[in-house]
C-alpha cells in the first residue's frame, strides 16, 4: 500500500521556496520580484496545509487562509509601491534604483 509522506509536500514547498528566493534576488523587474514573492508565500501555504492534514487539525488551513488574505494585501501595497517607483523614476528596474548607494 502506498503511503503519502509528509515530506513530499514539504520538499515540494522547499523547491518552490528556493525558486521564489532565486526570483526575488535575480529578477530586475519589480513586478517579477512581486511574483516571486507570491511563490514564496504559496510554498508556505503548502507547508501549513500539509501540517494541518498531518496533525488532523484545522489551524494550518485557517492560517493558510489568513496568509492568502495577507498575500492579497501585500500584492496591493507592493504594486502600489512599484507604480510609485515607476512614476517617480520612470523605471521599475530594481538594479537602477540605488538612491541609497553609499
Amino acid at each position: 500500500m502506498t503511503e503519502v509522506y509528509l515530506n513530499q509536500f514539504l520538499i515540494l514547498a522547499a523547491v518552490l521556496f528556493s525558486i521564489g528566493v532565486y526570483g526575488v534576488l535575480a529578477r530586475r523587474n519589480g513586478v517579477m520580484v512581486l511574483m516571486s514573492i507570491e511563490l514564496i508565500l504559496n510554498s508556505v501555504n503548502i507547508n501549513l496545509v500539509a501540517f494541518s492534514a498531518f496533525r488532523g487539525t484545522l489551524g494550518g488551513e485557517v492560517f493558510a487562509l489568513f496568509v492568502i488574505a495577507v498575500a492579497a494585501a501585500e500584492v496591493g501595497v507592493g504594486l502600489a509601491l512599484v507604480l510609485l517607483l515607476y512614476r517617480n523614476s520612470k523605471t521599475i528596474d530594481f538594479s537602477e534604483v540605488d538612491a541609497m548607494k553609499g
Binding site: 534576488l25 538594479s95 534604483v97 553609499g102
Partner: protein, 798 residues
C-alpha cells in the same frame, strides 16, 4: 424560554416580553424609529443632491431637508404614540399592592390627559416606592403579589409562569456567538427610553426646521442634513440599547456625528481643530467606557445585557469594589461625553459648528448621552459609589465642581454661544450631581427641562447671530430687542427658566435636585435614605446664583444698550421663530409634569410627580433610591439666592453700565473702571477665568509639551554642559599636548604610521562602501544567504 435571571449562574437572557398587541404594539417596535432616521440618512446621503429641490407652496425647498424633516416628523409622531402607549402600559401593570390596581380606562393620547386620568391607582407610589422587594431578589413568583412593582408574566411551555419584575419591554436576539461569548442585541424600552425618545425627536424636529433657514444656501446643505439624520438615529439607537455592546456602538456613532457636524465648515482651521478636539477628548473618556463595560461584562457573568448587569448589581452579586472600579471608568466616559470639569474643554470649542448643531448636541444628543448612561446603568454607580448613605462621592463631587466652575467660566465669555456652552457644562454638572446624590428622577427631569430651554437659548442665539453675522456680544450685538422682538421674548423666557425662577420649568427640576441632595437635613428637606450631601447643596445653590447672573449679562449685552454692530439686523423668518416659540412654551410649562407631591393640595393627590411615576423604572434592575421630601423653605431660600445673582447683575448692567453709557455717549459693555481693573485679586480671578483655568494650557503645554519638552531640554542641557565641557577640556588639553608632541614626536615618527593607518582605513572604507550598493536585491541576497547559513549551523549544532 426562561426569564431573566437566576443570577448566580450565567444569566440567560430573555428575548421577548410582549405588551399584548393592540394600541401598545408600538412599544415592541420602537426600533423602527432609529431605523427611519438611518434610512433618511442613507437616502439623503446618496440621493439628496440628485433629487434637487421640491416645490412646496411658492418656495423651493431642497429635497434633502424635506426628507429629513419628514423622517424626523414621522419619528416624533411615533414617539408620541410610544409615549401614550407607555403611559397605558405602565398604568395597566400590576402595582405593588394588588388592591391598588384599578382598571385603567381610556388611553391618554397625551401625557396631559394621563395626568388627570389615573389619580387613585398609584397613590401609594411615592411614600413607599415599591422596588421589588427591598432585599432585591430578582425573581418572584406570581403568587408573591406584594413584591413586584410591576410584573411581566411569561408563560412557559409547561404552563409554569414566571414573573419578571420589570415593566420594561425587552426584545432582542443573539447577534453572534464567539468562543463562548454571546453578543446580544435588542431593545430595552422603559421610562427613560420613552422620555428620551420624546426629547430627542422633538428637539431634532425643531432643529431640522430651524436649519432649513439657518444653513440655507450652505455649500454642504445636503451633507448637513444627512448628518443631522444620522446624529438623531445614533442617539435614538443609544437610548434603546439593550446591551452594552450596542450602547458603545451608538455612543461612538454619536461621537462621529458630532465630529462631522462640529467640523461642518472644516475649511477654516479653527473649526476642524475644534472637531478634532471634541473627538480626541472624547477618545480619552471612551477608553474608560470600554474598560468599564468590559469589567461589567465579566463581573456580571459574561453578559452584555444591561438589565442583567443592573439586576446583579442591585442584588449585590457583583463585588462592590468591582462595581467601584467599573463606575470610575464609566465616570471618565461621562466626564468627556457630558463635559464634566477637566474634560469639558472640548464643549465650548465645539461651538465652531453651526448653531442648530450646537443646540442638538447640547440639548438632546451628544452631551446628555453621558448622563443617560449613568441613568441607564444606575445600579452600577449607586452600589459602586455607595451613594446611599454617604455624604460625598466621586460622581456627586465632579458634578458639583462642574456646576460652579462651569458657571463661573460663563461670565467672561464674549461669544454668546460660548456662554451658553459653559452654561450647559454647568447644567450637566447639576444632572451628574443629582445622579451622584441619588436623585435619579430629579436628574432626568432636569435633563428633560434643560433640553427645552437650552435648545431655545441656542436657537435664539443662532437667530441673533444669523441676523448680525457674528457671535460676539460685545462687538456686534446690543439693543437687539428692538430688531428681534420674538427672539428677544423667547430668549428671555428660556433664560428665566434656566435661572430657575418660579414657576418656570427650570425651577422645578433644579429644586428637585437641591432637595435630593438632602444637605444638612435643614429646611425640612431630606434625601431619604440617600445620605446628606451638604457640600453638593451648597455648590448647587452657588450654581443657581451664578446661572441667573450670567444669563442677565448675556441678555443685557445682546438685547439692551445700543446696537454696536454693522448692518441692519432684522427678525428671523418663521422657520426660525416658530421653533423658538414652541421651545419657550415647553420652557415655561414642562416643569408642571413633575410637581412635588403634596404641592398645593397638601395631600398626595396623584397629579403631581407624573414624570417620576412614568419615568422611574420599577424593577429589580433599579436600585432602591430614597425619595426626598420637598421643602418649601428650601425652595424659598433657593429662589432668593437664585434671584440674588441676577439682581446684582441687573444692578451692575442695567443701572451702572447703562448710566455710564449715557455719560460716555456710547453703548458700553462693561464699566471701564470696574472691579476687575481696580482690584488685583478680581483681575487675577478674571484672567484665570478668561484663560479657562489654564486647562488648555495644561493639556497642550504641560502634558503634551511636558513629555517632549524635558526630553529635549535634558538632551540640550547635557549637550551644552556635559559634553561640551568634556570636549572643550579634552580639546584644550589635546591642543597643548598635541603641539608638544607634534614637533617632537609626531612629525618624524608617528606621522608615517598615522598616514599609513589613515590610508589603510580609507581604502578599507572604500571597499566596504562597495557593499552599500543601494540595490535592495543585493541586501536581500545577503539576508537570505545569511539566514540559510545560520539555519544550517543551527541544524548541525542541535
Amino acid at each position: 424560554m426562561k426569564f431573566l435571571l437566576a443570577a448566580s449562574e450565567v444569566p440567560e437572557v430573555s428575548f421577548t416580553s410582549d405588551v399584548g398587541g393592540g394600541f401598545n404594539i408600538i412599544l415592541e417596535y420602537v426600533w423602527v424609529i432609529p431605523l427611519i432616521m438611518a434610512l433618511s440618512f442613507a437616502v439623503i446621503l446618496f440621493f439628496g443632491k440628485s433629487l434637487g429641490s421640491i416645490k412646496i407652496g411658492d418656495s423651493e425647498t431642497p429635497a434633502s431637508s424635506t426628507i429629513g424633516i419628514a423622517a424626523v416628523g414621522t419619528c416624533f409622531l411615533l414617539s408620541l404614540w410610544a409615549g401614550a402607549a407607555w403611559i397605558d402600559h405602565r398604568d395597566n401593570f400590576p402595582e405593588a399592592d394588588a388592591t391598588s390596581v384599578l382598571e385603567h380606562g381610556g388611553d391618554g393620547e397625551h401625557s396631559d390627559d394621563a395626568e388627570h386620568s389615573d389619580e387613585a391607582e398609584h397613590s401609594d407610589e411615592e411614600g413607599a416606592p415599591a422596588y421589588f422587594d427591598g432585599d432585591g431578589a430578582p425573581l418572584v413568583d406570581a403568587s408573591v403579589g406584594g413584591a413586584g412593582a410591576a410584573a411581566l408574566v411569561e408563560a412557559g411551555e409547561d404552563g409554569h409562569s414566571e414573573v419578571h419584575a420589570s415593566v420594561a419591554i425587552l426584545k432582542g436576539f443573539t447577534w453572534f456567538q464567539s468562543g463562548g461569548h454571546e453578543f446580544t442585541v435588542g431593545i430595552l424600552v422603559d421610562g427613560p427610553t420613552i422620555l428620551m425618545l420624546f426629547v430627542v425627536t422633538l428637539i431634532s424636529l425643531l432643529v431640522h426646521i430651524y436649519s432649513t433657514d439657518y444653513v440655507h444656501g450652505d455649500r454642504r446643505y445636503t451633507h448637513f442634513f444627512a448628518f443631522l439624520s444620522l446624529f438623531t438615529a445614533s442617539m435614538l439607537f443609544l437610548i434603546m440599547s439593550r446591551s452594552t455592546v450596542q450602547f458603545i456602538t451608538a455612543w461612538e456613532l454619536v461621537g462621529v456625528c458630532s465630529f462631522a457636524l462640529i467640523g461642518h465648515w472644516w475649511e477654516e482651521k479653527p473649526n476642524s481643530d475644534a472637531a478634532l478636539k471634541a473627538f480626541l477628548t472624547n477618545r480619552v473618556g471612551d477608553m474608560g467606557l470600554l474598560i468599564g463595560m468590559i469589567i461589567l461584562y465579566f463581573a456580571a457573568g459574561r453578559t452584555f445585557d444591561i438589565m442583567t448587569i443592573n439586576e446583579m448589581a442591585v442584588a449585590g452579586e457583583i463585588p462592590r469594589n468591582t462595581l467601584l472600579i467599573a463606575a470610575l471608568c464609566l465616570t471618565a466616559a461621562v466626564m468627556s461625553k457630558s463635559g464634566q470639569f477637566i474634560l469639558h474643554t472640548w464643549l465650548p470649542d465645539a461651538m465652531a459648528g453651526p448653531t442648530p448643531v450646537s443646540a442638538l448636541i447640547h440639548a438632546a444628543t451628544m452631551v446628555v448621552a453621558g448622563v443617560y448612561m449613568i441613568a441607564r446603568l444606575y445600579p452600577v454607580f449607586f452600589e459602586g459609589f455607595a451613594i446611599s448613605g454617604s455624604s460625598i462621592n466621586a460622581l456627586a463631587l465632579i458634578g458639583a465642581i462642574t456646576v460652579v466652575f462651569g458657571g463661573m467660566l460663563a461670565f467672561v465669555q464674549d461669544d454668546i454661544k460660548k456662554v451658553l456652552a459653559y452654561s450647559t457644562v454647568s447644567q450637566l454638572g447639576y444632572m451628574v450631581m443629582a445622579l451622584g446624590v441619588g436623585a435619579w428622577t430629579a436628574a432626568l427631569f432636569h435633563l428633560f427641562t434643560h433640553a427645552f430651554f437650552k435648545a431655545g437659548l441656542f436657537l435664539g442665539a443662532g437667530s441673533v447671530a444669523h441676523s448680525v453675522h457674528s457671535f460676539d456680544m460685545k462687538k456686534d450685538m446690543g439693543g437687539m430687542r428692538k430688531f428681534m422682538p420674538t427672539t428677544f421674548k423667547t430668549f428671555v423666557i428660556c433664560s428665566i427658566s434656566l435661572a430657575g425662577v418660579f414657576p418656570f420649568a427650570g425651577f422645578w427640576s433644579k429644586d428637585e435636585i437641591l432637595v435630593g441632595t438632602g444637605g444638612w437635613g435643614l429646611f425640612g428637606g431630606s434625601g431619604g435614605s440617600n445620605g446628606a450631601y451638604t457640600l453638593m447643596l451648597v455648590m448647587g445653590l452657588v450654581g443657581a446664583m451664578l446661572t441667573g447672573a450670567y444669563m442677565t449679562r448675556v441678555i443685557y449685552l445682546t438685547f439692551f444698550g445700543e446696537f454696536r454692530g454693522h448692518g441692519h439686523p432684522h427678525e428671523s423668518g418663521k422657520r426660525i421663530t416658530i421653533p423658538l416659540v414652541i421651545l419657550s412654551v415647553f420652557a415655561v410649562g414642562a416643569g408642571l409634569l413633575n410637581l412635588p407631591p403634596g404641592f398645593i393640595t397638601g395631600e398626595e393627590a396623584g397629579w403631581q410627580e407624573r414624570f417620576g411615576h412614568f419615568i422611574e423604572p420599577q424593577s429589580a434592575a433599579f436600585p432602591p433610591i430614597g425619595h426626598a421630601t420637598p421643602s418649601y423653605t428650601l425652595a424659598i431660600v433657593a429662589s432668593i439666592l437664585g434671584l440674588l445673582g441676577p439682581a446684582i447683575a441687573v444692578f451692575y448692567y442695567f443701572n451702572r453700565v447703562e448710566a455710564r453709557s449715557k455719560v460716555e455717549g456710547r453703548s458700553l459693555t462693561e464699566l471701564p473702571d470696574g472691579l476687575t481693573s481696580r482690584v488685583p485679586i478680581a483681575k487675577a480671578g478674571h484672567t484665570l477665568l478668561a484663560e479657562k483655568y489654564y486647562l488648555d494650557h495644561l493639556y497642550t503645554d504641560v502634558i503634551a509639551g511636558g513629555t517632549k519638552g524635558p526630553v529635549a531640554d535634558m538632551a540640550d542641557w547635557s549637550n551644552k554642559h556635559l559634553i561640551d565641557n568634556v570636549i572643550d577640556t579634552a580639546g584644550r588639553t589635546a591642543v597643548t599636548a598635541g603641539q608638544f608632541v607634534y614637533t617632537k614626536i609626531d612629525q618624524p615618527l608617528v606621522d608615517g604610521a598615522v598616514d599609513g593607518a589613515g590610508k589603510a582605513s580609507s581604502a578599507f572604507g572604500d571597499e566596504l562602501r562597495k557593499s552599500q550598493t543601494g540595490k535592495v536585491q543585493q541586501y536581500a541576497a545577503y539576508l537570505f544567504a545569511a539566514a540559510a547559513v545560520l539555519a544550517g549551523v543551527l541544524i548541525i549544532v542541535i
